[in-house]
Amino acid sequence: MNFSTEVKEDVTIMFAGDSGDGIQLTGAQFTDTTALFGNDISTFPNFPAEIRAPQGTVAGVSGFQLHFGSAKMNTPGDELDVLVVMNAAALKVNLKNLKKGGIIVANTDGFDPKNLKLAKYPEGVNPLKNGSLEGFKVYEIDVTKHTKSALQDSGLGTKEAERSKNMFVLGFIYWMYNRNLDNTIKFIEEKFKKRPDIIEANLKVLHAGFNFGETSEAVGTRYEVKPAPMPKGMYRGIMGNQATALGLIAAAEKSGLNLFYGTYPITPASDILHELSKFKNFGVKTYQAEDEIAAVCAAIGASFGGALGVTGSSGPGIALKTEAIGLALMLELPLVIVNVQRGGPSTGLPTKTEQADLLQAVYGRNGEAPVAVVAAKTPSNCFDMVFEACRLALEFMTPVMFLSDGYIANGAEPWRFPLANDLKAIPVSFAKEKNQGDKFMPYLRDEKLARPWAVPGVAGLEHRIGGIEKEDITGNISYDPDNHEKMVKTRAAKIAGIASYIPLQTIDQGAENADVLLLGWGGTYGALRNAVSELLAEGLSVAHAHLTYLNPFPKNLESLLRKHKYILIPELNNGQLVKIIRDKFLIDAQSLTKIQGLPFYTTDIKNAVYAILKKHSENLVCN
């Protein structure tokens, strides 16, 4: 064969095609195989807008982007090395992200006049034919024809045969990256257990794709991407929403409580419900309420009854829950509120990512109503941080808001999953007896300022709680002015006091006293990490700290910030964390924002850092 092999550090591939083309499955298979091979991976599926559009149109394009390589992959990649397109619309949507000189694998059958028209190419224009793709390596393959011919004796109808198209592409890409087919073969055999004919067809086409690479003269280069030096251990792939679901179940198990998840479907949070509802054998109860208000109220009711009450939604649904969250904080019952943020305001961009609910999380309730707020920074970190949210809620008898976002919720990465035994237990003790002489005082506090959790069913602890201001210690209704002030301050102090029970803030990369500190939070972690790696490699004095505890902040945050000359706060919103930091510390932190429903690209961040360094070059030099 006349092909060479080239070694690459990392590769970004986008599989794109119509919603019906099996793109997500293809992407997932390539991910699994590549993970098994030992590469690190970061993936991001890109669904079409909410309603499926007619086949072949731009609105109907489904994409799956993945980035794999021989080092830690922090993001699904900014620019594409390889773009696999099943039809013209898929090319149209994604071409702008392809690197100069990148590879296009195009299914020519998807570029027939009908598809070109659906993709709204001008009459007579075929991008494969008109020279517009100059500067890219284009592999044109009539996937449909190859698939059909591979299956000509299979006895399958045309429609059913055509459904295996994606296997041809997968096989071809496996060949291109020197991958082994075993994992996918196993998967196919498992998935179609009951249809041996389908198994056979898919395997045939998969091999045909692989062999096409091997035998076709067209392709000159194969690539080798060596395994990444990942910490030793057992791995699996995990998506953010899945990790959130597992984190909740784990927290319930480690606290010895039953998990109650009250929710109302909403993109991009619904998958947490779908995931949790499978695990009834963990005693998990999922409750699809009539609306978000009912969902959070049911979670409060469950918590009153001694369960781990959790509610989940996205921005518009969280807005509806605010009144009830206020009740929960007055009742001082544990409650975890999961907010998988999406593009806003209002219905906004439901399938896109954004970080614009931070101020709502911290400030968005009537009255003085502090709750704890934490955020996950990567898909797998959803597991850790939602577990933390549960721990804080239970230890401090308080609502805790857990922020995720559409990007990490749907993104995936390899996860060195923990053993159940290695997870810290969350100690929960229900009140068993009277706590002040012969009386039970529902608002007598412990050293964390948490009140006792007395659940119905225990004789002698009968008590009433409610949303009207409560008298200190007794919990009775009180309109007393001084008591109100005391209670407001106590609730605030309880949340502030959490700072003593969370880890100190660390610097992720860079020096302790860099010229520029990038302070990020939540789902932008990967992009910031990449950018800072590159900037450090360029010899610049930058550092990166990433917040996962947002209210309260880690105790050392101020001193950590003050050691750096300039603070830049990149956020996928119009500047929210930056407001809190400036208010709290009177530090002239600057804001870098992107409000496009998209994650940061490395270049977005690097350019901002260059700009700061340039602007302040004098100050920095004379230092």
Binding site: I293, G306, R416, L419
Partner: protein
């Protein structure tokens, strides 16, 4: 009901909180009857939970020495649904007003009925917003002058019992603050029902809507205007029990018992939803004001309770897949090792 469970009396249900309803408010009587009935139900006091929304009536839990939550406006039903989902062992009583349940809380109310959680809903209907000082509610009569309708309310009032039936309630009954005996009977029936039981209680707000139910509660007019229904019994009412109701096709008519035998009367059947629908609509037709207003259990149906279905499903799934193992869950289906 074993006696060792009856470890409390009505007195034990009184809390140390001063009762703060207006003097003369119908809520007092309801509180009293609930405190009287509860010890007779074979419950442990610590297993009883009162959950309310916001309103005069919703202060109720503070006066019951049981577990209780005074929540937010309209949401008691939603909170109780969550509580029941995880604690089917508790006896949960929801206290709500006509505004709390039918106005802001209308959605949770009908959904709870549909799902059929096993709870007792005491709907204190005073046809007014008491706590906020006298605005019209979804049960206020059209044309009534209130704080927010100085020229008369335009709204068409809900028929609460009809709404409940429309929402597939499995138990619907009505009583009134001024008839302690009947109220106690109805409270017991409400408790006994397995499923979501709604007991609408006509309650006089003597400050903002005094006398709204006078014709049903005052001695002089009561007998002629009320109809107490009992399962298996004919529909009879009137000053001297001299009138009855017959069903002509689907139309109820008042008859004089001098001319009609009680055998021909409509015999109340709690299990007949179609008849229940006619019964609760009897007084809706303003052109026929001879029909009395019914009280009693209108409808009662056996249907699985939601919390039991939840438990069953958890058990089924557990039987099928075995009790969940956290390590297996964390591993997932496809793992690989980096060595």
């Amino acid at each position: 009901m074993s006696t060792d469970i009856n470890n409390f009396t009505a007195k034990d249900l009184i809390t140390d909180q001063e009762v703060r309803w207006c003097p003369g408010c119908g809520d007092y009587s309801i509180l009293k009857q609930v405190q009287t009935v509860l010890p007779e139900l074979g419950l442990k006091r610590e297993d009883i939970v009162f959950i309310s929304g916001i309103g005069c009536s919703s202060r109720f839990p503070y006066y019951m020495e049981t577990y209780g939550m005074h929540s937010i406006h309209g949401r008691a039903t939603a909170i109780a649904s969550g509580l029941k989902s995880v604690r089917n062992d508790l006896s949960v009583w929801i206290i709500t007003g006509d505004g709390d349940s039918l106005s802001i809380g209308g959605n949770h109310f009908i959904h709870l009925l549909r799902r059929n959680f096993n709870v007792n809903i005491l709907l204190f209907n005073n046809e007014i917003y008491g706590l906020t000082k006298g605005q019209y509610s979804p049960t206020t009569q059209t044309g009534q002058v209130t704080k927010s309708s100085p020229y008369g309310a335009l709204d068409h009032a809900f028929n609460p019992a009809a709404l409940c039936l429309g929402a597939d309630a499995s138990f619907v009954a009505r009583s009134m603050d001024r008839d302690p005996l009947h109220l106690r009977q109805m409270l017991k029936r409400t408790h006994e029902h397995q499923g979501a039981a709604v007991l609408e209680i006509y309650q006089n707000c003597n400050v903002f809507n005094d006398g709204a139910f006078e014709v049903f509660t005052e001695k002089t007019t009561k007998k002629g205007n009320t109809l107490f229904v009992t399962h298996g019994e004919p529909l009879i009412f009137g000053e001297s029990n001299n009138k009855g109701i017959v069903l002509e096709g689907t139309t109820p008519r008042v008859v004089d018992l001098e001319n009609t035998s009680t055998n021909d009367l409509w015999i109340h059947d709690e299990q007949d939803r179609n008849k229940a629908n006619i019964l609760v609509r009897m007084f809706d037709n303003p052109s026929d004001d001879s029909l009395p207003r019914p009280f009693g259990v209108f409808y009662s149906e056996n249907r699985p309770c939601y919390e039991d279905l939840m438990i069953e499903q958890v058990e089924e799934v557990t039987n099928k897949f075995g009790k969940g193992n956290l390590d297996a869950l964390l591993r997932g289906k496809s793992v690989y090792e980096i060595k």
